[in-house]
Symmetry: C2
Subunit: 191 residues, 2 copies
């Protein structure tokens, strides 16, 4: 019998290197499946259905929502966003670990509905370092940087609700930590 | 402030490679402290007090026991065996992970008293493989091998009470798994 995969939920404030860390993890396409969100917003240029998002009509989304098909959902700028249960369960049953990237409110919904999920929070060494990193990128105005730091500060309050906290001080160490957490999740005894 | 270390409890049936795996882990003497058991039995030739065991008189053991100083204890062949809380707490406070090797009954006592402990069980790929390995050692009679396999079978029933289960199929993979579990324990969010 194939061993069931693990649901790994990853949250992080913007600028914590989550994308880079998960990019490395997701290189192993046999072991991992990346959960794709659904949205009712229109595709932007270059966005591919089934890769960046599953694009759905508002009617289809609400129908699935009423049927309880979503593990979590939220509305943002008048559009729905959500994660369907079915693809996750299929890939877990096939023995793949499912990586689900989500903000903290979604993470809390999953905590509630999937007590077997492993929740990982990636944090910067400090808000000061985060501010520096965001500033160095040079893509944001100082005002936007400050907004992001304030947002990060609010999100960091949720770390207590997560199973694991990885401090992204050194990128290679943070990647190794992510692999340790995933491997440990795989080795966890089912109760 | 120094980050507190983690208490890692390791159990395994005889012949599962626990000694080899822990030997590798314990090479890092700064990061890890190996918890030494106390016993009232007499030292055997070559055994050093404070290295193999802390050798204690029966009176001293009973006094400490009455004072609640032991995390776990057992009697075997009319002698006491036990683990003191104090050295564990000292090393955890100093930021070291404490590795505690123990049989399943002791593991269950620790589960009860230290819900923050991480319990790891090392198992053979199968009882058949265990029988083969014990036979190949050539140090035991076939009767003793069978007794050990039967004992292993009884102990394996406790795996559900542990947090992690490592199958020692390939030694290097099992060592890597042990390090993943320990690192994950270090990254775990305190609730």
């Amino acid at each position: 019998m194939q061993k069931k995969g693990r649901l790994i939920v990853v949250s992080a404030p913007s600028g914590c290197g989550k994308g880079t860390i998960l990019g490395r993890v997701l290189e192993d396409k046999e072991r991992f499946y990346y959960s794709i969100s659904c949205t009712t917003r229109a595709p932007r240029e270059g966005e591919i259905n089934g890769v960046h998002y599953r694009f759905m009509s508002r009617e289809a989304f609400e129908r699935e929502l009423a049927a309880g098909a979503f593990l979590e959902h939220a509305t943002y700028c008048d559009n729905y966003y959500g994660t369907l249960n079915a693809p996750i369960d299929e890939h877990l049953a096939a023995g793949q670990d499912v990586i689900l990237e989500i903000e903290v409110q979604g993470g809390m919904q999953i905590r509630e509905k999937r007590p077997d999920a492993t929740l990982v929070f990636i944090v910067p060494p400090s808000l000061e370092v985060l501010r520096e990193r965001l500033t160095k990128r040079g893509t944001e105005t100082p005002e936007v940087v400050e907004k992001r730091v304030a947002q990060a500060s609010r999100e960091l309050a949720f770390v207590d609700q997560y199973d694991y906290c990885i401090v992204n001080d050194d990128l290679d160490a943070a990647i190794a930590d992510m692999f340790s957490v995933i491997r440990a999740a795989e080795l966890r005894v089912d109760r």
